[in-house]
């Protein structure tokens, strides 16, 4: 991955959030407070604006793109997803301190993002959170990394989507959905759904870049 691809990933993600905004909100309305779409939309609108700003600093590393994204999410999103995704992107950016990153380095970065999520939110797989999409995505990415970025990203996106779908039968143990007790069963977790967008955007951007 180079800096241009990192930027393309973030832009594809911002576009995906906008397209799926109402869907994320609907998921969050069912078992949360109905703001997940608006939260991420607000955050990624700010991210895109920052990237597009005439005086935006030219990122010197792949990590700089991700760290900057995380910092903006942290300071614009709020709610649960703001600190979670903000910290995850910042954690991913930290190790990627060169102008390019190998698939293996990216796998480590994604794992660092997951660690940040788990560290901050305290959720474990099965709690019906972002962790349930992020965990299989990182594993799939790492497993397919030897086959190249495109294969790894595609595998991760598929895994994230399956992970999100797999949250449907779960009873939430973290986040707002946990307040519903057994009534949280039967709904896809909104955060897991947006995590699937993160990984699908990575696959799409990689694919477009011919990578």
């Amino acid at each position: 991955m180079d800096i241009a691809l990192a930027l393309a990933w973030i832009r594809a993600l911002a576009a995906a959030v906008e397209r799926h905004r109402d869907e994320l909100t609907a998921l969050d309305t069912a078992i949360g407070d109905g703001d997940h779409g608006a939260n991420l939309s607000r955050g990624f609108t700010a991210v895109t604006a920052a990237l597009d700003a005439p005086d935006a600093p030219e990122p010197a590393t792949v990590g700089a793109v991700l760290t900057r994204t995380g910092t903006i999410l942290l300071s614009k999103v709020g709610g649960a997803s703001g600190p979670l995704y903000g910290s995850a992107f910042r954690a991913m950016g930290a190790p990627l301190d060169g102008p390019t990153a190998t698939p293996a380095e990216l796998a480590d970065a994604l794992a660092a993002g997951l660690a940040a999520l788990r560290d901050l939110g305290g959720a474990v797989p099965g709690d019906k959170t972002v962790v349930d999409a992020w965990t299989p995505a990182v594993a799939a990415f790492r497993a397919a990394a030897p086959a190249g970025l495109a294969a790894a990203a595609a595998a991760a996106a598929d895994a994230a989507e399956r992970g999100a779908e797999d949250t449907v039968p779960l009873q939430a143990r973290k986040g707002r959905a946990s307040y519903l007790g057994p009534r949280s069963i039967g709904h896809r977790d909104p955060g897991a759904a947006s995590t699937a967008l993160i990984f699908r955007a990575l696959a799409d951007a990689t694919h477009s870049a011919g990578g």
Partner: protein, 331 residues
């Protein structure tokens, strides 16, 4: 969706501008989204900072003023504020005696305030946090997100605010806040849903003869649906649910908050208060102080919450101490 707003995106800045115009005695930083007292304390005192998602008005901005909060930082509707914003609030009112964050127990609030506390520490500001988690509708276990913070927030902010006003040190103010929280329990029922500007439709649909029992303050459905019943039966269930979890005995005194969720007529809240009073009297529990009205709302949700805080001489004395905020005011 019918709302008195300009756009869903501009609700918070527009409301803040209105709040600033309505309360010139307070300082409203429209960029940082921080409401704070205008006067700096003559001698350093513990500064109380609270915040959370908007849509719960008058909480928290309506409780900024002498005797209660020093600053509030409202997030977007039902979305906790961001760390930068919480930090800005702390910086605005920090006077050298430390800052107490009053945080309602929601994942987002806890994380954002925790990150803000880390930032504040980097700036040399001492921060303590009181976590409010009074809602007995939610199971309290280390495996869950824990109980939600709801009506008890008013008591924590009022009582800790009064103690801070007297110059008590940070640890003591934080300990009192924790003690008040531990002495408080809440439970809520909804007769109708809330609609956030962003979602544009109600958080749930409810037939005309059913209610949601055990709801929170974010428009989410509750623990279960039940048929609507006359007020005295409904209140009996709410009181008994709280008492089952609360160590209150005959002879005890409480502060009772009968709180509207935003769309409940005051007339009905007084009907509810009458039933609460009667039910507690049967148990030998006396309501020493009370509030009846909209204090911790959930936009346009219909229903009520009941909060009971066990009272003791210190609690009552701090409750009676002067307070001068937009929403709570006595002397």
């Amino acid at each position: 969706m019918k709302k008195l707003i300009n756009t869903p995106e501009s609700v918070l800045p527009d409301a803040l501008a209105g709040f600033a115009a309505a309360h010139p005695e307070l300082t409203v930083d429209l960029d940082a989204r921080v409401i704070s007292r205008s006067a700096r304390p003559a001698v350093p005192k513990v500064a109380l900072v609270s915040g959370g998602g908007s849509g719960h008005e008058p909480l928290h901005a309506g409780f900024v003023g002498p005797g209660m909060l020093d600053a509030a930082c409202p997030g977007e509707v039902f979305t906790s504020p961001v760390p930068d914003q919480v930090l800005a609030a702390a910086q605005a009112v920090h006077s050298g005696a430390g800052v107490l964050f009053v945080v309602k127990n929601y994942t987002g609030d806890v994380m954002n305030f925790r990150l803000a506390a880390e930032l504040a520490a980097e700036e040399g500001i001492e921060v303590a946090t009181v976590l409010v988690d009074d809602d007995v509708a939610v199971e309290d276990s280390t495996w869950t997100a824990g109980r939600r913070g709801t009506g008890a927030t008013v008591a924590v902010e009022k009582l800790a605010g009064a103690l801070a006003e007297r110059g008590a040190p940070l640890a003591e103010v934080a300990a009192l806040g924790a003690r008040v929280n531990a002495a408080s329990r809440s439970f809520a029922v909804a007769l109708g849903p809330a609609t956030t500007p962003a979602a544009g439709k109600p958080g749930f649909e409810l037939p005309d003869d059913e209610i949601e029992v055990g709801v929170g303050i974010h428009g989410e459905p509750g623990r279960r649906r039940e048929p609507l019943r006359p007020a005295h039966l409904l209140v009996a269930e709410v009181v008994d649910t709280i008492l089952a979890d609360h160590h209150l005995a005959a002879g005890d005194e409480v502060i009772a908050l009968v709180n509207g969720m935003g769309a409940t007529p005051l007339l009905e809240l007084y009907v509810v208060f009458g039933e609460v009073h009667a039910r507690l009297a049967e148990r030998g529990i006396r309501i020493a102080r009370n509030l009846v009205g909209n204090y911790v709302t959930s936009l346009d949700m219909a229903g009520f919450s009941l909060t009971l805080t066990r009272a003791d001489p210190q609690v009552l004395e701090l409750w009676d101490a002067p307070v001068a905020t937009p929403a709570l005011r006595w002397s």
